[in-house]
């Protein structure tokens, strides 16, 4: 059979989890990571990253809105997904995702964004006209109270929500890692380190995404990039990346040392079928290179221009690397036979329901949503920007 080497059980020949299932942890990872970056500013009071605070929240929201779509397309019958809320199945980790998702979307992200933007929303509901005005009016919930005390209360509650939000973000992505880590029949997945590795790689990808988006958007608006902010974000990216990389290496060393019955098979797979996506793209291009680049900016004094270029390059490589990591987990875990005697090949469709085209659309869609959100709720902290001239330029 073409694409099949050695012995495969009949139900292993064709992969059940497609590129959409690769996309799903990638998207949720960006959500969790972006949110954790936002909470840095809020909870740990890292003032320097403030220019990215709102952008990070909006990024998290737009990716979160798209995150369940790959699952819906993969499973089909999207109308049935509502049933897991109606008759919750408490012993199924996958079924509980619905609640993790709703909690994170409604109780954390939407709430935090609303509280943070409330002043802008009220001002905009008075300064805009037409349909915009109606949207903002709806978002004010009919309360135009902008007294200092009201805003102070918002600040307090927002802080509280961020504090609750951090474990929630860990839960959201730790859950995704848990789904894989708890498949005991699959030695490529089954490790308690999986949720932890997923959380740290999520932080890495989210921070990189927000950094790149911030630089891109600032540049496209013709503003100057706040270097203090980007330097700080890049430094955090560097630190989390080192932790993430150490964890992955720990996992690797552990596997090599333990050398259980699956090891030879997995080792062979990494050196053949997964060589390009695992060794070349994930480890060399997507992990070691960005860490080295970011490390360089920490050690050597570079010009602003050079730093910007390095950050942009490192950020993009990081995102590619993390995507490759999801790919290697999801697809890699299905390429070898559970008999450890054979390997199959993943054939990605192009315009099928779970094909490449859909995957591309689902990757671009969050950016479109983000664009709309940024238009609606301008995240920029500089004066004179967005739709808020009358409020912010008062002095």
């Amino acid at each position: 059979m073409p694409g099949v080497e050695g012995f495969m059980y009949p139900n292993e020949i064709e992969l059940q989890w497609s590129v959409l299932i690769v996309l799903y942890p990638f998207l949720t990872g960006l959500v969790a990571g972006a949110f954790i970056l936002a909470s840095l500013e809020r909870v740990f009071r890292v003032q320097a990253v403030k220019p990215t605070y709102r952008l990070a929240l909006l990024t998290a929201l737009s990716f979160l809105l798209v995150a369940p779509l790959p699952l819906q397309l993969h499973l089909g019958h999207p109308e049935r997904s509502f049933e897991m809320y109606l008759t919750p199945h408490r012993t199924s980790a996958m079924a509980m995702f619905g609640f993790v998702y709703v909690w994170y979307l409604m109780a954390v992200l939407v709430l935090e964004i609303w509280l943070d933007y409330r002043r802008d929303i009220v001002v905009l509901s008075e300064s805009t006209t037409g349909w915009r005005r109606w949207i903002y009016r709806m978002m004010t919930l009919g309360s135009h109270n902008l007294s200092e005390r009201a805003l102070a209360i918002d600040e307090r509650v927002g802080y509280l929500i961020t504090v609750i939000g951090i474990p929630s973000a860990f839960l959201l992505h730790g859950y995704v890692g848990f789904i894989f880590g708890s498949v005991k029949a699959n030695p490529w997945w089954s490790t308690p380190l999986m949720p932890v590795v997923f959380i740290f790689s999520a932080m890495v990808s989210g921070i990189a995404a927000v950094m790149v988006l911030y630089m891109l958007m600032t540049w496209s608006r013709g503003r100057s990039i706040d270097m203090r902010c980007v330097d700080t974000v890049a430094r955090y990216l560097f630190y989390t990346f080192i932790i993430d990389f150490s964890l992955e290496m720990l996992d690797l060393i552990h596997r090599i040392y333990e050398s259980d019955e699956s090891f030879r098979s997995l080792d062979f797979m990494v050196h053949t079928k997964l060589y390009l996506s695992h060794i070349v793209v994930q480890i060399v291009l997507g992990t070691v290179t960005p860490i080295a680049l970011l490390g360089l900016t920490q050690v050597v004094k570079l010009t602003e221009m050079a730093r910007k270029r390095i950050y942009a390059l490192a950020g993009c490589l990081t995102l590619i690397g993390i995507f490759a990591m999801r790919w290697n987990v999801v697809i890699g875990g299905q390429l070898f036979s559970k008999s450890f005697l054979g390997y199959t090949t993943y054939k990605m469709g192009l315009v099928t329901r779970e094909g490449l085209l859909v995957a591309i659309v689902l990757t671009v869609l969050p950016l479109v949503i983000l664009w709309v959100l940024v238009k609606l709720l301008p995240p920029w902290t500089e004066r004179n920007s967005g739709l808020l001239p009358d409020a912010r330029a008062a002095h």
């Binding site: 012995f7 059980y9 009949p10 003032q47 403030k50 809320y85 109606l86 008759t87 199945h89 409604m106 709430l111 609303w114 409330r118 002043r119 009220v122 001002v123 008075e126 009016r137 004010t140 919930l141 009919g142 309360s143 135009h144 109270n145 902008l146 007294s147 200092e148 005390r149 009201a150 805003l151 102070a152 209360i153 600040e155 509650v157 902290t381 004066r383 409020a391 912010r392 330029a393 008062a394 002095h395």
Partner: protein, 196 residues
């Protein structure tokens, strides 16, 4: 639509106040302002928008609960995590398979041939498909003719995952496209010899 006391001028002055303190000292000055004025009465009023939001959430949850009341079938959970009535509904569906004892009451000749052969334990309807309708009324419901070139390989096509003891052939080499029943008698497939 809006809080009367905070409309117009009031809002504008607040915005100015907060705008001056942007961006760094914003939070600090707000907190200072907070501690210097106001009573619990005010705190209640000033968190009015939060109560509105809470109301929206409560309304959402209520809508969900009402929907749930309508959408979840009444018999759900009666026996387990599924709709209890499903059991009765499935039981009430028409039977498709008659079972080999039923076939054998009329087709004793086939049984005679089959019972000593290697297919003795393969049920009639495993090959002929569900035929309960035919068993009820053989005159009007004719079983469809079987194409052995398709039928037999369903079980006998060689596959490494099948137990080695199970008889398997690579049909392309073995029969070169001929229907299997040109050589094998389906009800007693072993060719020649006493083993049948």
């Amino acid at each position: 639509m809006r809080d009367t006391e905070h409309s117009g001028l009031g809002t504008a002055s607040c915005i100015q106040l907060t705008a001056t303190s942007e961006p760094e000292g914003g939070r600090a000055s707000l907190r200072r302002a907070r501690s210097s004025t106001g009573t619990t009465m005010h705190a209640f009023k000033d968190s009015g928008h939060l109560f509105r939001l809470a109301a929206v959430f409560v309304a959402g949850i209520l809508v969900f609960l009402v929907l749930r009341g309508f959408l979840v079938p009444k018999s759900f959970g009666q026996y387990g995590h599924y709709r209890g009535n499903a059991m009765a509904e499935i039981a009430a569906r028409p039977v498709n398979f008659a079972g080999h004892e039923t076939c054998e009451t009329c087709h004793a000749d086939v049984l005679d041939k089959k019972k000593d052969g290697k297919h003795a334990h393969v049920n009639c309807e495993a090959c002929h498909g569900p035929l309960a309708k035919h068993a009820d009324d053989p005159a009007s419901v004719q079983p469809p003719k079987l194409d052995t070139a398709v039928l037999c390989v369903r079980c006998h096509e060689a596959n490494a995952a099948k137990p080695k003891t199970f008889p398997q052939v690579a049909s392309a080499d073995h029969s070169t496209g001929l229907p299997c029943d040109t050589c094998h008698q389906p009800h007693s497939p072993v060719i020649g010899g006493g083993a049948k």
